[in-house]
């Protein structure tokens, strides 16, 4: 079997040059999605009327829609509505200036928020009810209780799942190439099409992503160990 190994080696730095784009998409959608997800989790934890119902439907729909569909909805749908709005107020179409990357980050953030909200909700639910009572018995407000007692514990419980979501985001960011974002996958596809060396390029790409995931898994496992040290002491 003849694999063009020189071509494989040459393609590694070219693909890795797009690593910042992949990282940008995964990190930003994790941050934005994480914040939105935390907010949704709190709304649902306190069972705020109407909003609780609304976000229940939101979470169910987002988790039931394939990510690719969400990406297309953001990429095709948002410009459509932005353009409609611009026409109605009589200004130039703003959507033309928005790069595909922004739609990708938007779609991945929305997607992540639904999963993160479930992670935080189950983490909060797993805490003993007695803690809330204890806090109110010493006169803490419900905000203080959440900020100082419940949330720190929920965070620790949530970390392994959040790490999995983040690793999932890195792999999911490959879909962005379908809306012409040049992250690592997009660069790989361009390279492969140019030279017809599909097998070589896709082996290299697969290995790069796999190594990235394994490496990050190791790093995060270390962090988890540190974060959960407090449990051992008790």
């Amino acid at each position: 079997m003849r694999l063009d190994t020189q071509f494989m080696l040459d393609s590694i730095p070219i693909i890795l040059k797009a690593l910042p784009v992949t990282a940008f998409i995964s990190v930003f959608s994790m941050l934005l999605g994480g914040l939105l997800g935390l907010l949704i989790a709190l709304i649902r934890y306190y069972k705020i009327p109407v909003l609780d119902r609304l976000f229940r439907v939101y979470v169910s729909l987002i988790r039931g829609f394939p990510l690719m569909v969400q990406l297309y909805l953001a990429y095709f749908g948002l410009p459509f509505y932005i353009n409609m709005y611009c026409q109605s107020v009589g200004i130039d179409n703003l959507a033309k200036n928005i790069p595909p990357l922004a739609f990708a980050v938007f779609a991945f953030s929305v997607n992540t928020s639904a999963y993160v909200s479930e992670v935080f909700r189950s983490a909060l639910d797993s805490l003993d009810k007695g803690q809330r009572e204890a806090c109110s018995s010493i006169g803490m407000t419900s905000f203080q209780t959440m900020a100082h007692i419940l949330l720190p514990q929920a965070m620790v419980a949530a970390i392994p799942n959040l790490v999995n979501l983040f690793l999932g985001n890195i792999k999911a960011s490959t879909l962005a190439y379908m809306i012409s974002v040049h992250e690592m996958m997009g660069v790989a596809v361009v390279l492969a099409n140019r030279a017809y060396n599909y097998l070589e390029i896709y082996i290299v790409t697969a290995v790069i992503y796999w190594l990235l995931c394994v490496l990050l898994e190791r790093v995060f496992a270390r962090m988890e160990f540190r974060f959960s040290r407090y449990k051992v002491r008790v």
Binding site: M1, R2, S60, L61, R63, G64, F65, P66, L67, M68, V69, Q70, Y72, L73, F76, G77, F80, Y81, N83, M84, Q87, S88, I170, K171, A172, T174, L175, Y177, M178, M185, A188, V189, A192, Y198, L199, Y202, I203, T205, A206, Y209, W210, L211, L212, C213, V214
Partner: protein
């Protein structure tokens, strides 16, 4: 510019999409069947394959889980024919469906292997010893005692993996397969950019409905499964 959301178009497009539902279900079932076999083999080797095979199985599982699905699909779809021609098997074109199904099966087998492994490990060791003490052989103990309990344990996580697989098959369109997502993309291309939101909301809702029904079925099975499964 027209309406925000055309309900009548939305209503029209749903039956057209549903006509491709058998294709989606076929891909899911075939990938799941092969994925379960591969996953079972990988899990079995991982648990008791000896030092070498267990390492290889661990690598296989980690690789299938660590590689993005789209990269795996492209690798299989473009790589397999190239590999075959290297080996001297020339074919004008390799059929699309088997390659797509193979890539989904490989991907899902990594997740299923982990589901099965943790389900197996969560069965208490004393169960094996008890089976042994009443004179069962290792195989009998596995088939009659361990396996039924492991299946019950595995149900929730395997269910999640299947739901993930269903949504992942939406990527098959990128290789030209006409499942429901492929149909949506075709309709969208024919429309020259009109009513895109309706089309993709419709296709999303179909996936959502399929997953919703499956989740309900799994919930029922789980409740029943509290009583360990009886084989024969």
């Amino acid at each position: 510019m027209g309406k925000l959301f055309s309900v009548s178009y939305f209503g029209n497009v749903i039956p057209k999409l549903l006509s491709a539902l058998p294709s989606t279900i076929g891909i899911v079932l075939a990938s799941l069947a092969f994925g379960l076999v591969l996953g079972f083999l990988a899990a079995a080797l991982r648990i008791r394959g000896g030092p070498v095979m267990s390492r290889i199985a661990a690598f296989y599982i980690s690789f299938m889980r660590g590689v993005p699905l789209i990269a795996l699909m492209l690798l299989v779809y473009f790589g397999f024919p190239q590999l075959m021609s290297f080996l001297g098997f020339e074919a004008g074109s390799w059929p699309k469906y088997p390659l797509v199904i193979a890539s989904f099966a490989l991907n899902v087998s990594g997740y299923l292997a982990e589901n099965m492994r943790s389900a197996y490990l969560s069965v208490d060791k004393s169960q094996f010893e008890a089976a042994h003490s009443i004179g069962m052989t290792g195989l009998q103990g596995f088939v009659h005692i361990i396996f039924p309990q492991a299946v019950t344990n595995a149900l929730p996580s395997v269910g999640n993996t299947v739901i993930m697989l269903i949504k992942d098959t939406a990527l098959a369109f990128s290789l030209g397969v006409v499942d429901i997502m492929g149909k949506a993309v075709l309709i969208n291309a024919r429309n020259y950019g009109a009513r895109q939101v309706e089309i993709f909301v419709a296709v999303g809702l179909i996936y959502w409905a399929v997953c919703f029904v499956l989740e309900r079925i799994l919930d029922l099975l789980e409740k029943r499964g509290r009583k360990p499964l009886r084989l024969g």
